[in-house]
Chain length 248, copies 2
């Protein structure tokens, strides 16, 4: 009997935001696979789980994601071919590690920060795993995403009744004006590197009072800035987002 | 000492998708407020909680939301004034019930299906409560939303790397073509009443193979249709969504 692969969203940081189902499965499985890589936050997933339950006697294996594939990179950067083949090797190794356990009948839990469907690198592995074994049993356990945790912390509804929501990785600020025009709520992810540009656009469009900056939602040092102009350089970090909500 | 109001997302249906935090607080509080109204699914929140813990000895109060305010209705329908004042009375009653307990120092948990920030009627109450008592202690506990549960069930990522996500209540199908053009992922909520129109647009745009219909995600009779054309009249219901994902 082949083992089952569970993909578990462990929530944004607070171990209490794990679901009952996540905790039960994590207690049951003998092997936990932890994403590691350039992306910040990967090792965080394990620390969240460690606070909620004992991992004694469990095998911990690492999944390497050395970089994030982006559309820009897909256009072909110098040396991209080499980088891609290194990346493929890393992925192949992770796939081999996971399938190795499953083929021995060992269930594996792949843990991921927040919710698996919301920008989790797991999906880079998903197709590769199913390609090698189309009959693989994979169950995805949804979790609390950082978007929901940020809205909760800010006391904001993302949408009510007929309202429309756009979720944008913040590198697309070129389209920000159009998006702010068309949507009731715009969620901007990973704003730390483009914060000034966003602040400028919000000011120009007179949306400054509609925007809230949330840093590290669900973590111990979480912070909400209801005044975007009070956000300082040191308040910016990878785990940050801006929610712009019209009619606020 | 005034009590504290907890607004708790109880997840999409499976009691195991409650968070540890939700369960802890629901065990601690003496009073639980349950939304009731025309919207389907409200009484579901209580049944989820009842499966996860004993409610013996707790006071259950009902919050009436007789209808959902929509933009269309806001434009002024015949008799709207009367309907609005009835609605205001219902809300005033709920606010009074909640504040009555809080003022006696009793903590209250307002439970809501899915995640509070995602189309929960609670936010109609939020401003009214804070208006009457700006110092009210309100803590929102995020939960697993039906969107995340649907994506998990369908084995779909909502977004990866630079991808952009739009979440649209399905009454806006006029803009569907534009949205499908501009976003990598389009989540259409409550599609049961406009299913045929959506199917037609997806067919015209050659996106039929990119769309998945998910019915009652997180509930016992949850279902995934990877072929939109196989969805029958009886498969359509209030707890349904379509996720259109390009490059699938």
């Amino acid at each position: 009997m082949t083992g089952k692969l569970y993909v578990i969203g462990v929530g944004p940081g607070d171990p209490e935001l794990l679901t009952l189902k996540a905790v039960r499965i994590l207690k049951e499985v003998k092997c936990i696979c932890v994403p590691k890589g350039r992306e910040e936050g990967n090792s965080l997933a394990l620390s969240i789980v460690q606070k909620a339950l004992s991992l004694e006697g469990k095998e911990i294996i690492e999944a390497h994601f050395p970089m994030t594939k982006t559309k820009q990179q897909g256009l072909g950067i110098r040396g991209q071919g080499l980088e891609n083949s290194r990346l493929d090797n890393k992925w192949a190794e992770t796939v081999k590690n996971i399938l190795g356990r499953l083929n021995k009948g060992i269930d594996v839990a792949f843990i991921t920060l927040g919710d698996p469907a919301v920008y989790s690198t797991f999906f880079y592995l998903y197709d590769r795993l199913l390609e090698l074994n189309p009959n693989l049993k994979i169950e995805i356990i949804p979790g609390v995403s950082s978007i929901n945790a940020s809205a909760a912390l800010a006391g904001l509804s993302l949408g009510l009744a007929d309202e429309r929501i756009a979720i944008l990785p913040a590198n697309y600020i070129d389209n920000l004006k159009e998006m702010l025009g068309k949507f009731d709520t715009v969620v901007l992810m990973k704003v730390h590197k483009v914060f000034e540009g966003i602040r400028q656009t919000l000011t120009e469009m007179n949306f400054l009072n509609n925007a809230i900056y949330i840093s590290r939602a669900g973590m111990e040092d979480e912070k909400v800035f209801k005044n975007i102009n009070s956000v300082k350089e040191e308040d910016l970090n990878y785990f940050s987002m801006i929610i712009v909500k019209k009619g606020r």
